[in-house]
């Protein structure tokens, strides 16, 4: 066993960075223990108690960072030290073993040998050029940027098709490639279900529900919201389906989207007929009777997950194929507080696909439901607060929940609102504790205005997400929010409560 100490003189790093760095270094092969701390006497003493050789640390002063590593060999310890230097931005040129900073796609591709995907997240005006350069370097491209013109999207995707490279996006929020979450994505189990999706939170919800059903995801490929329009012609979706067909890890495929353009839908259904693996189509809000020759179809995200898991298990409904039961709150207790004058549902969503799913579910049962209306007097309204009109000049509500919490207070104060529907999206990229501000806002609204509104939510996430599903659900429940296991169930619950309200007001 080898112990080494490295000292970085007069350097400050915040504690979170040092802790995260330590965790990363511990995962380097051959590293037994590692610490990155300030070289104070107490830290040195504590590390000597932990078994590190005190003589290695004597040169460290309180304002120095002291890096300690115990590894199986000298070279393992050296690898850990290099990772540390890289993390502090002190990477030396020519070393391609770890991440580094660079300002060009070309140099990045050279530095990181073996990379096959570029993530583009620059202002929309510049994104096509960077994506073009990445394609020229032989890289698949994931374009997170929005505000890319339709013409540029078509040009890039045609180039990608010629080169055999995927162009995921633009405005592509989520992918999971070989188990690696890209942009907004959740920690889900790996498995045999591949997802191709034109929507970020749609992919998130389906992958999370697959995980909750004890199955797993092989890959999830985001294609961007315009891919299945007739203008783009589903270039990336069709390529992604081909990849899923040949991928040995993928046994079942889910395709998520809004209703595609007519010509693209024909091309898509033809492709699906040619694929040897079962494909579940999920088009939110589409009547399956309009789809001819499609074997497995659902119009909800929950339905897509259930169907895909069932197919992945040989088309058998196992006894465990269900989500945990819904809230057991006393309906009477909740409804007794609700005056007959309160009769409308308002949905305040951070996820666009979750908002759409709710909208279409409500429309099945209730008349006069509006999506993203300019104003919401006397109507049922579902608002996608992640849409452009809300996010110009400020972060997406999945990152900054403040304007959704403000809106919640405003809706609560509307004397006609009976039910508020919410989504809480977890995973990488999302707010570190998204339930907290919403729960806080519900408590404040109840204190400030009244206790007359029913709040229903679902949390899209897993226990392994950084924000932890159960911790988020607990906060919401403690604030009196009814928490349902899927977004669809939450929407159906809202319909259920509303129907009881109506019956009651008719009796009165």
């Amino acid at each position: 066993m080898v112990q080494l100490a490295f000292i970085k003189r007069n350097t400050y790093q915040d504690s979170v960075r040092l802790m995260r760095l330590t965790e990363r270094v511990k995962r380097v092969q051959g590293v037994v223990r590692a610490m990155a701390i300030m070289g104070t006497e107490n830290n040195k003493f504590t590390m000597s108690r932990a078994g590190f050789d005190v003589s290695l640390m004597k040169e460290a002063k309180p304002n120095d960072i002291l890096f300690l590593v115990e590894a199986q060999s000298q070279s393992d310890a050296q690898s850990a030290w290099e990772l540390y230097q890289n993390a502090l931005g002190e990477h030396k040129e020519g070393d391609s073993s770890t991440s580094s900073r660079t300002v060009s796609v070309h140099r990045a591709a050279k530095l990181l040998k073996g990379a096959n995907l570029a993530l583009i997240s620059v202002p929309g005006n510049y994104a096509p050029y960077e994506a073009y350069k990445a394609l020229r370097e032989g890289l698949h491209v994931h374009i997170f940027s929005d505000n890319v013109s339709l013409e540029d999207e078509i040009r890039l995707k045609e180039l990608g098709r010629r080169e055999g490279l995927l162009v995921m996006g633009p405005d592509c929020g989520t992918s999971i490639i070989n188990g690696v979450p890209i942009c907004f994505a959740n920690e889900v189990a790996r498995g045999t279900i591949g997802i191709v999706g034109a929507s970020g939170t749609g992919i998130q919800e389906v992958s999370v529900l697959i995980d909750k059903l004890s199955a797993g995801v092989s890959h999830a490929i985001g294609v961007g919201g315009r891919d299945l329009t007739d203008e783009v012609g589903g270039i990336t979706s069709l390529m992604a389906l081909d990849l899923m067909e040949t991928d040995p890890e993928t046994h079942t495929i889910v395709l998520l989207s809004k209703l595609p353009g007519t010509k693209t839908l024909d091309r898509l259904t033809e492709k699906i007929r040619d694929i040897s693996k079962p494909v579940v189509l999920c088009f939110l809000g589409v009547n399956p009777q309009n789809l001819h020759g499609v074997k497995h179809f659902t119009d909800t995200l929950e339905g897509a997950a259930l169907e895909a898991v069932k197919l992945s298990r040989g088309n058998k409904h196992s006894g465990g194929l269900a989500f945990s039961s819904a809230e057991s709150e006393s309906e009477n207790a909740l409804l007794s507080k609700l005056p007959a004058t309160r009769k409308y549902i308002r949905g305040l969503y951070s996820g666009g696909s979750l908002a759409s799913e709710t909208f279409y579910i409500l429309k099945k049962y209730i008349e006069g439901v509006h999506f993203n209306p300019q104003s919401t007097p006397s109507m049922h309204a579902i608002v996608d607060m992640g849409s452009d009109e809300f996010t110009q000049g400020r972060p997406h509500p999945m990152i900054d929940p403040s304007y959704r919490t403000e809106r919640l207070l405003k809706e609560w104060n509307d004397p006609e609102v009976a039910i508020i529907l919410l989504d809480v999206v977890l995973g990488y990229g999302s707010h570190e504790n998204p339930a907290a501000p919403l729960a806080d806002s519900v408590i404040r609204a109840r204190e400030k205005y009244n206790d007359n509104v029913i709040v229903i939510a679902s949390v899209c996430g897993t226990e392994r997400d950084p924000q932890q599903l159960s911790a988020q659900e607990t906060q919401l429940r403690e604030a009196g929010v009814l928490v349902y296991p899927t977004n669809a169930r939450a929407a159906e619950a809202a319909v259920h409560y509303l129907s009881i309200c109506r019956e009651r007001s008719q009796i009165q």
């Binding site: 790093q13 979170v16 802790m19 300030m38 104070t40 108690r49 806080d440």
Partner: protein, 293 residues
Amino acid sequence: MIHCTAQWVAADLRKRESLQVQLHSVHEHVVNFSVEGQPRMLMIASPDMYRGPSAIGLSNSDLAYLFRVLQYESKGKLEPGELVIGHGDSGIAISLVTAVIDFSVPPCAYLDSSRLHASLNLARSIFHNGKTMASSVNLLAREAGDSILHQSLEGGLSDLVESVVSEDDLAFVDACRELVGLGYGSTPTGDDLIHGVLLTHYYYRSASNLPWRFLSIPEDILSSTTAMGQHMLSIGSQGLTLEPVRNFLLSLLGGYIDSKTVHQLFRIGATSGVDIGVAASVALGELIKQVKS
């Protein structure tokens, strides 16, 4: 030389004699200067930074000019009414004849005994659901795990709270020796814990109309931590603290704690705010038990 006027100045700076300062570190919203012969820093903060003792507030445009004149190890002089950094054309003179903000222990803080427990429990739950990277959050739940660093922090915090609550000077010095400089970050966790416990002790006793006095940390202990750690310990032992800590303690004692106040506290450093808040929660729990208001 450019002349400008500070937007505000901390009251403790106005009392100082003429002092030499030297550039220590530059961050996005704050520039730190070490002060000759003092364990404290002098801080120049933008309007986007929280306010605090030993600090001066500058407008963003004046701060931008300061950034331009700063060089490696830039020197300056702090006079009772003015701070001068650099010389001639590459210098800036900041007038301190401006609004003065006092960050010392308020003499008559409000204490709501009936809501104290509820307030404390709410603060604790917000900590648990907040920044879990802070190593001290585990201490609050007594789930220190088996790492030797956590064990040392847990043992040190327990000794510290006991010594401070009982105002036992010798035990306090021993506890400081255990904790100072211990932990991650440029302000090690141990230093933040001491800061939080001391301030809570001072505020609680002051709000309870009980006699209290400053507990001092010997110089040899102070010098065994980082420069930022020394600063936090030095101001803390004198009852001075940053505005978010002050607001947190006042709302905690007054029984009107809310998540906004706690999240303002979280903004301090990477984990310092959480560490201070956790220390305050542990200390207040003991104060309620042992020192009747």
